[in-house]
């Protein structure tokens, strides 16, 4: 696993020391809140609705057991005994007190973690596929290049005052689990005809106020050309980007306004200028980083115990069918631990559960854990013969919910239960939907279905790319939920389409049920997923089911309100 070098450790220690002094000066009154606010934000400390919130970075969502145990310790020692994993592969603590935060940061530094957000209008932490280094469909591990980009962009003099923040995601597999099309730049590792590894580069994706799917600016950029190519993109945007309007400053607007072809031409021209400055040191650096991400020593053993348990135990089989994914090493599986027990808060884990997961990683998983943007925990490398025992331990701790990728595996942002920016709640909506479909006992029959909920237009819950997306809004002082259908976060990324007027908090769960039953009656068979059915039949049947009494006065009133 990648280890911070000594420079990083010294840097984090120094930042923590400074922040401790800043907290003291805020408390004794020598710093005003206006002065202190940017300092605390730089250290991941936000003020939310009911309390402070500390956001801890988990680069590429990659953790080991020591880190996970320390996260548990923080939750118990300074918070209320749990943490919340987010769609940005981070963890958030919802209840820290100001005086304790420097101690929390020091405790994190002990295991090489920090809460430093590369905040401001810079290139933010690079995200990657949560199956990185394990997936059977992977061409190459995306994390080394993500780390290379992090090192290149940190403190890059030209990129400290960009028009706006800038986010990059990398996938190493053709099945895109990193939502690369919804980032300012998305990289997809590909092979060319000669078998060489390179990158398909997407640009101009993003969710939020003006959602856009990224466009391919170049289908193959070689490893040697990658950094100069990225530099060319960022510098073209740096020149063209709209600094006059915060809402138009992201590169997605630049690409939209100028067109991808014009942008491509400018990038190529800039690339020709920049390329000679890259001597190949970056490639040597990449090779060094790759060595640190080397795969563990996989063992060669029979999987009889797994096969026997599958045959004998239907509960185990159901879990294996939904929560395992294909591993690249024979005899191994990728395990997803669902943090979506029916009725629980999506993404929350107690300190005890974190310790259990850390123990399991250490015992069965080559000491590796990942956090997925879908708010679940991944044990990337587990030998199949260990799965029956692992499953039994998960079950004993309420962690064996067999629902990965199903209707109750819902992404939900914190929404108005915690977030100061929210316009409506998201968590209770997720809880009610999951509880409802659990009562109906039809989620396995429904099959693959992704519901994603955001509590405001900022779209932290990725609602635009949910098969069913839910956006919570404030309509004249009442929570109102807009539904979109047909979104897709994968390599075939698409934005969902609005069904029509929104629904109240009381109406939204029945509305989702209506959509699902409509799908079940429209589909050609259990083999046709929700998304496939939607693409075949379109919005029509869903609209008809959701808004049956067209033209009634209540409906018109609703249409007006929307």
């Amino acid at each position: 696993m990648y280890r911070y070098d000594e420079f990083d450790a010294a840097f984090v220690a120094e930042r923590n020391r400074q922040f401790r002094a800043q907290v003291e000066r805020r408390i004794d009154g020598s710093l005003t809140e206006e002065e202190f606010r940017p300092l605390r934000l730089m250290n991941g400390l936000y003020l939310q609705l009911h309390a402070y919130m500390l956001r801890v970075a988990i680069p590429y969502g990659t953790l080991d057991s020591a880190k996970m145990r320390q996260l548990a310790y923080l939750a118990e020692r300074w918070d209320k005994g749990y943490g919340h994993f987010t769609t940005r592969q981070n963890i958030q603590y919802n209840w820290p007190e100001l005086r304790d935060v420097p101690d929390m940061l020091d405790a994190l530094a002990e295991v090489g973690m920090h809460a430093i957000q590369t905040s401001g209008n810079t290139i933010r932490n690079v995200t990657a596929d949560h199956f990185a280094g394990a997936a059977a469909d992977e061409i190459a591990d995306p994390r080394p290049v993500a780390e290379l980009i992090r090192q290149w962009s940190t403190d890059h003099p030209e990129f400290q005052f960009l028009p706006r923040k800038f986010k990059i995601a990398v996938t190493g597999a053709p099945n895109d689990r990193a939502v690369t099309a919804a980032h300012d730049i998305g990289l997809r590792i590909v092979r060319n005809d000669a078998g060489e590894i390179g990158y398909a580069v997407l640009v101009g994706g993003g969710l939020g106020r003006t959602p856009m799917i990224g466009k391919v600016i170049n289908g193959f950029v070689s490893q040697a050309d990658l950094l100069p190519y990225l530099e060319a993109i960022v510098s073209v945007w740096n020149l063209l980007g709209r600094r006059d309007n915060k809402y138009k400053a992201r590169i997605k607007i630049t690409v939209h306004e100028h067109g991808i072809d014009a942008i491509r031409e400018m990038v190529e021209a800039r690339f020709a200028e920049v390329r000679p400055q890259f001597s190949g040191v970056d490639l040597e650096l990449l090779r060094g980083i790759e060595a640190q991400f080397a795969a563990p020593a996989f063992r060669n053993a029979p999987t009889d115990a797994y096969d026997a348990a599958r045959d004998a135990d239907p509960v185990f089989r159901a879990w294996a069918d939904t929560n395992l994914s294909a591993h690249r090493a024979p005899g191994y599986a990728i395990v997803e631990i669902s943090l979506k027990a029916h009725g629980a808060t999506p993404g929350d884990a107690t300190a005890e559960q974190m310790r259990v997961m850390a123990d399991l990683a250490e015992r069965f998983g080559h000491d590796e854990l990942r956090i997925s943007h879908e708010q679940n925990v991944v044990l990337p490398h587990v030998h199949k013969s260990d799965l029956p025992e692992l499953h039994a331990i998960l079950r004993a701790h309420g962690l064996a919910t067999a629902n990965i990728g199903l209707v109750s595996d819902i992404i939900a942002c914190p929404g108005m239960d915690y977030c100061a920016l929210a316009t409506a709640r998201s968590i209770p909506i997720a809880q009610e939907i999951a509880t409802r479909f659990d009562e109906l006992k039809i989620e396995h029959e429904i099959g693959a279905l992704k519901i994603k909920i955001s509590g405001c237009i900022n779209a932290c819950g990725h609602h635009h790319v949910g098969h069913i997306g839910i956006l919570g809004l404030d309509r004249a002082g009442v929570e109102n939920y807009q539904i979109t259908l047909g979104g897709d976060h994968t390599q075939d990324a698409a934005l969902g389409e609005r069904t029509g007027p929104g629904f109240s908090a009381e109406e939204i769960v029945p509305a989702i049920e209506t959509i699902v039953t409509t799908y079940l009656s429209e589909r050609e068979g259990p083999g046709e997923t929700f998304l496939e059915t939607y693409r075949r039949v379109g919005m029509g049947p869903f609209k008809a089911a959701l808004y049956p009494a067209k033209g009634t006065s209540k409906d018109e009133a609703r249409a007006d309100a929307a």
Binding site: I27, L47, H50, A51, M416, D417, R425
Partner: protein, 99 residues
């Protein structure tokens, strides 16, 4: 005709704990909305706000929140304030647990 003034309370978060607090009539900060001073006069509300904003060593993010008079003190007009008064709806934490 001028719009009628919606009554307000002065609210903020406590600097050290981050808790939601309200300004009481005696100028102290209270954790209970029922003990907050309901300001029914616009000029009065502005003065109380400006005074409260100066107390930066005690609180963060001072603002005026709309309220309606109720039997047990001020009642939130908007659901955001209802959540701030109570705590999150997914866990029994925050004010509802302290009550």
């Amino acid at each position: 005709m001028p719009r009628p003034f919606t009554p307000k309370v002065v609210t903020a978060n406590a600097l050290l704990e981050g808790d939601v607090v309200y300004l009481a009539e005696d100028g102290s900060w209270t954790r209970r909305l029922s003990e907050a001073e309901l300001l029914t006069d616009e000029a009065d509300a502005q003065i109380r706000l400006i005074e409260a904003e100066k107390r930066t060593s005690e609180v963060v993010g001072v603002y005026l929140a709309d309220m309606a008079p109720g039997d047990a003190g001020p009642e939130p007009v908007h659901f955001r304030e209802a959540f701030r008064r109570t705590g999150p709806s997914n866990r029994f934490h925050g004010k509802q647990a302290d009550a």
